[in-house]
């Protein structure tokens, strides 16, 4: 039932939205992981980011794609929680976990289950079209699952289409740059530096004006 609803939502809403209203120029789409366990790590400008990343996968694979999303934001009311859990199929993450509760346990389970996770290490959408410093949660996950392949994806343009604090989407093409996957680098700092390096290299492939 849940898989059917998700498939319908993507066939009727998300895929047409991405094909007609928005659209993306993707550099190296072949680098997208086709099966898990894998983590897509992307910068975050807009709610559309998650929809675009998920729409790149065929409907048959959709249930394996799990966006990691802030529990305090997406579980704040009943309707949103239902939508986030059933349609977007998110893995809710407690940003301020209670003592004695492992906030990453279900994420580890999902990876062991062969899912492809979507993770935005900026933590929130922030100012549109501007990349904020990464939070280190991603390194914790990679430390626990050191063989998981992580693919860095730099996206630009969707912040213009639907920035934080606005409800009206305006058509724009997005740019998307995919990097070669990498693994746990033997230490948290090394892993975060590697991730930052990947993003800096991706950013250099495009020409981006600041948007204000």
């Amino acid at each position: 039932m849940q898989r059917t609803l998700q498939a319908l939502f993507f066939i009727l809403v998300v895929k047409p939205l991405m094909a007609v209203v928005l659209g993306a120029n993707i550099r190296h789409p072949e680098r997208m992981p086709t099966h898990g366990a894998a983590i897509l790590v992307a910068n975050h400008n807009s709610h559309l980011d998650t929809l675009l990343l998920m729409s790149l996968y065929p409907i048959s694979k959709l249930h394996k794609i799990r966006p990691v999303a802030a529990a305090d934001y997406f579980m704040r009311n009943k309707f949103l929680a239902w939508f986030a859990l059933n349609i977007m199929h998110i893995l809710p993450l407690e940003r301020k976990p209670k003592k004695g509760v492992d906030p990453l346990a279900h994420i580890e389970v999902a990876l062991k289950n062969g899912d492809i996770l979507i993770l935005f290490p900026e933590g929130s959408r922030g100012e549109p079209e501007r990349r904020e410093p990464f939070k280190t949660g991603i390194a914790h996950i990679m430390q626990r699952m050191p063989y998981t392949l992580v693919t860095a994806i730099f996206m630009q343009g969707l912040g213009k289409a639907l920035p934080k604090g606005d409800w009206l989407p305006v058509p724009f093409f997005a740019d998307m740059f995919v990097a070669e996957p990498f693994q746990w680098q033997g230490g948290k700092d090394a892993t975060m530096i590697r991730l930052e390096t990947e993003f800096q290299a991706l950013e250099k492939q495009g020409r981006f004006d600041t948007w204000s």
């Binding site: 993707i26 549109p128 920035p163 305006v170 093409f173 020409r207 948007w211």
Partner: protein, 308 residues
């Protein structure tokens, strides 16, 4: 379907088949590094021509929707590559809304509104909307760039679509669709011929600062071939007669080139190679319709003046 239009459609398909054959032969006997790109480009020609021919042969409404879609994609590409202001998000939406309105006027054969809606009403409405937002920093640049894009991607291109609704009795053997096919075929043929002539005899650069690969031989050869083909085809597809047919070819040949290098100048200014990646082997939609932004309005008014 008017009889000559039918022949023309078959002719286009034959032309595509010949092109495919030439590329295939080149791949077999003189393989080179650019083959994969050429092949991709040819495949995209089939897809684009297929969609276009299907639209114009099925019915008028579908053709108008097809062109409105081309305008939308071209405008979206333009807004995505230029620097826009956050304050202008609502203004951009107004610009997009001009597309269905403009094509609605065309569907109603409402010539007066078709010809003034964007140059007058949208020209006045967009700065008004910008003032309502109230952000003055970058106002002039924004007002100018947004309207230029609307003129190129919507107003200019929609002239091609207006050919479809011109009265049939003036051109009974081919109809509006025949005129449109003539314009599109000659414009795209001119692009290809300028490329081919330039490859064959290319040494004198014609406009190196804007488009370093374009050569004088490409330009002249392209214009000559296009004029010749226009003179041969126009009597069957257009109401033009005698010398008018050759001048039509000359207009398409010369200004197809101008449209091409105008969009090249835009891309060079922005520091990008292609306007997008929607059409494999060609780049974006704007890259493909660059010549048409000039030839469509110029050819339209030329025919309109003499025949309608």
């Amino acid at each position: 379907m008017p009889i000559n239009l039918r022949y023309a459609v078959v002719g286009v398909l034959a032309l595509l088949a010949i092109g495919t054959l030439i590329i295939e032969l080149k791949r077999m006997f003189k393989p080179g590094s650019g083959d994969a790109e050429l092949w991709l480009r040819m495949r995209s020609w089939w897809v684009m021509a297929g969609m276009f021919l299907l639209a114009i042969t099925i019915n008028q409404t579908l053709s108008l929707v097809f062109f409105a879609m081309v305008s939308f994609l071209a405008l979206k590409e333009y807004f995505s590559i230029i620097a826009t202001r956050r304050a202008d998000r609502r203004v951009l939406l107004w610009a997009y809304l001009a597309i269905p309105i403009q094509y609605y006027f065309i569907s109603q054969q409402w010539y007066g509104m078709f010809i003034i809606f964007i140059p007058v009403y949208m020209f006045l409405a967009m700065p008004m909307r910008m003032v309502m937002v109230g952000e003055t920093r970058g106002f002039l640049k924004s007002a100018g760039t947004l309207h230029w894009g609307l003129m190129m991607a919507v107003f200019s291109l929609s002239h091609a679509a207006y050919l479809l609704v011109l009265p049939l009795e003036k051109n009974p053997l081919a109809g509006g669709a025949g005129l449109l096919l003539f314009l599109i075929l000659l414009t795209q043929f001119n692009d290809v011929m300028q490329f081919v002539w330039g490859k064959l005899f290319g040494n004198i650069k014609i406009i190196p600062k804007v488009s370093p690969k374009k050569t004088l031989a490409g330009f002249l050869g392209g214009v000559a071939t296009t004029t010749l083909v226009a003179g041969l085809l126009a009597p069957y597809l257009t109401p033009l007669v005698g010398w008018q047919t050759w001048v039509a070819g000359l207009i398409i040949g010369v200004f197809g080139f101008v449209g091409d290098v105008t969009i090249s100048a835009l891309k060079r200014d922005l520091g990008i190679k292609d306007s997008g990646s929607l059409i494999p082997g060609h780049g974006g939609v704007l890259d493909r319709v660059d010549s048409l932004t000039y030839t469509a309005p110029l050819f339209f008014h030329y025919v309109y003046y003499f025949c309608y």
